[in-house]
């Protein structure tokens, strides 16, 4: 049962939510809210941005300044919010298709700019809301309604993508470890810079039913089985790591943050002007 503090961050007026019973998105929302409570954030100074998809409905359920924007574009909206008011805490909740397909360009540039926004990616390897079409993180060989003969294209490693594009904090966990999700989200929000937390979750309704993980519990068992801590993964061969989900903090570095850099631009423009 969520604590009173957590319940205070929910818009119960928006309920019932649209998520299927057993959906992992609720676990992630709970972890996010616990992180916000733990960090003692003010609801009126916290922005939750999102795009389109099941995951993006989360913005509506959280009692904060919430911006449910267009498909894939949420980071660009969030960038405008953050640049205009750098004092706000900005979290962007997104799905795998939202982040890495239609929103891929915004994602890599938010990483590159290193703007102080925390992106929480709910990766369930599928387009759930529209009925189970393949996404850029659908594993090769998996079944989806648009891959009736099996997916043939390799999937994205979202954490490597974020690291390569320049994010200052990058971490991954699964919903089978909600406490770790909370810790990583908290660390991401604390980090001055662009943070990416990939939380691997499931869509038993759309992905599971076609790929032998029909029940929520099947997915939890699966995540526990395939999760490998980052430290342990370093001792494993690529063959041993195939099909595994490496969990841990991949990047945690201090690099110049965009809005702070822009504050310097203002300073020099004022001197010059």
């Amino acid at each position: 049962m969520p604590s009173t503090e957590v319940l205070g961050w929910l818009r119960t007026r928006f309920m019932p939510h649209i998520w299927c019973p057993g959906c992992g998105h609720g676990v992630i929302m709970h972890a996010l809210i616990r992180a916000l409570v733990e960090l003692n954030k003010d609801k009126t100074q916290t922005v939750i941005a999102s795009g389109i998809g099941c995951s993006s409905r989360m913005a509506g359920y959280i009692n904060a300044c919430t911006l449910h924007s267009t498909h894939g574009r949420s980071l660009a909206f969030a960038t405008g919010v953050k640049l205009h008011k750098p004092e706000l805490t900005v979290v962007d909740v997104m799905g795998d298709g939202d982040c890495s397909a239609i929103g891929g360009n915004h994602f890599i540039h938010a990483c590159r700019r290193n703007i102080d926004i925390t992106a929480v990616i709910m990766n369930n390897n599928i387009y759930g809301m529209t009925g189970g079409q393949a996404s850029p993180t659908t594993p090769a060989g998996a079944w989806a309604s648009t891959t009736p003969y099996g997916a043939i294209d390799p999937s994205f490693d979202l954490c490597k993508l974020a690291e390569g594009a320049g994010a200052s904090y990058v971490a991954r966990t699964t919903i089978a470890n909600p406490k770790q999700a909370e810790t990583f989200i908290m660390n991401g929000i604390r980090k001055k810079g662009f943070s990416v937390i990939e939380v691997v979750t499931h869509c038993h309704t759309q992905f599971g039913r076609k790929n032998d993980r029909r029940l929520p519990i099947d997915n939890y068992r699966y995540f526990k089985e395939v999760s490998v801590p980052l430290t342990k993964s370093k001792t494993m061969t690529p063959e041993e790591l195939a099909g595994k989900v490496v969990c841990g903090e991949f990047v945690d570095k201090d690099v110049p943050e965009y809005t702070e850099q822009y504050a310097k631009v203002i300073e020099s423009a004022r001197k010059k002007g």
Binding site: R13, G60, C65, S69, A76, T79, G80, L88, H106, H109
Partner: protein, 394 residues
């Protein structure tokens, strides 16, 4: 501003100084007008022939503590601008045809979520990449209907550098007043030509800012419209109110709805707030309309050629008149129809294959003959071409 007084320098007020006047190109004037209107955020992407607007903003905004960001694409440009406006900024983006197409998706979000922003489209020719360095007026209907779904549209078309400056101010005022995007449809000729601009005194200028909620946060209903203006008060992220912005159709609480009466209420209000506010929005210019038998309706850069043509025709004894919609949307149709009563023929020269002529036909309803004149070779109409047509039909 380009009435006959222009030709009589002795009537100009004496002694303007560099502080009062500037010699600017249209794009520069537009940027300075926006700044005077209180614009403190620009998000965009480079595109010909609008880029100078972004360049001026990049230089000027940080001087006043404002923010400029060059985004990764046109879509991101308008998204950042909407985000900034939600956080309380007065925000501008500028683009041209291909970028205007890309912005349509998020323009829709700004319409439905009622977010004030100003979007400039410096028009160039052709579908797709077309002719980036030549002028056109081919985006007139896209401005009205470009994004999917119904909504009211506010769109201005400057025809001089002075008007780029003046209409940038008006556009921000209207965006803030009606809580919705306002479009400025400039074109390559107006954007790049250089003319004298008389600057406005910021101390004497009354600018409009969005109405903020007067109730405490726990009493705030984000989309409850003022009964008179039909526009809801707008909080900003970070100023003490927590509220929800969404592209879904919502009820007054800002919650997504499937309730038919709530959907209809929201949709009709989006359109009605503009219909009701028409008088505040609509501007037009007329010259030589007394006893005019042939009326030339022209907007933007073509307005310049058309006025000269009408003046020349009058010199030759032909009763020609000139009507220029400064506001393209809502179209000043009632005003045109009233002024055109009794006219034999209405000519509509435009730099497209016949777009605004359809709107003129719609409002004239067959009371006068309406004839379009198209030019789509990237050039501006020569006044003589329009004058010859006036002579032919008179």
């Amino acid at each position: 501003m380009f009435s006959d007084e222009r030709d009589r320098p002795e009537q100009r007020p004496a002694g303007p100084t560099a502080r009062d006047v500037a010699f600017w190109q249209g794009n520069t004037a537009l940027a300075h007008g926006a700044l005077l209107a209180g614009c403190n955020f620009f998000g965009g992407y480079p595109i010909t022939p609008s880029t100078e607007i972004a360049e001026v903003m990049a230089e000027e905004l940080p001087k006043i503590g404002g923010k400029f960001i060059q985004m990764e694409d046109e879509i991101g440009g308008i998204a950042a601008v909407i985000g900034a406006s939600i956080a309380g900024a007065k925000a501008l983006t500028a683009t041209s045809g291909p970028g205007f197409s890309l912005k349509q998706e998020n323009l829709g979000l700004a319409y439905i979520a009622e977010i004030p922003i100003v979007v400039v489209d410096v028009m160039r020719g052709g579908p797709s990449t077309g002719v980036p360095t030549k002028t056109a007026q081919q985006d007139v209907m896209q401005a009205r209907w470009g994004t999917h779904g119904d909504h009211g549209t506010i769109c201005y078309a400057p025809s001089s550098v002075q008007e780029c400056y003046d209409l940038a101010i008006k556009a921000f005022d209207m965006a803030e007043r009606f809580r919705q995007p306002v479009l400025i449809l400039s074109d390559e000729v107006v954007g790049h030509m250089r003319e004298k601009v008389t600057k406005k005194d910021p101390n004497k200028l009354k600018i409009v800012n969005r109405v903020r909620p007067s109730v405490p946060p726990d009493k705030f209903t984000p989309y409850e419209a003022d009964p008179v203006t039909k526009v809801p008060a707008m909080a900003a992220f970070g100023d003490g109110y927590s509220w929800h912005v969404t592209g879904l159709t919502t009820n007054d609480w800002g919650f997504p709805t499937n309730n038919p009466s709530e959907i209809e209420k929201k949709m009709l209000r989006l359109v009605n707030k503009i219909d009701k506010g028409r008088k505040e929005i609509v501007e037009y210019e007329m010259e030589y309309m007394d006893g005019a038998n042939v009326i030339v309706v022209a907007y933007g850069s073509v307005g310049r050629s058309a006025l000269r043509a009408v003046r020349d025709a009058r010199t030759r004894g032909i009763p020609a008149g000139f009507f220029r919609p400064v506001t393209l949307w809502p179209f000043p149709g009632e005003e045109l129809a009233r002024m055109a009563l009794g006219a034999k023929i209405i000519l509509v020269p435009e730099l497209n294959c016949g777009q605004m002529v359809l709107e003129v036909e719609r409002v004239i309803r067959g009371r006068s003959e309406v004839r379009g004149m198209s030019l789509v070779n990237g050039e501006l109409f020569k006044p003589s071409a329009i004058r010859r047509m006036i002579e032919e039909v008179a």
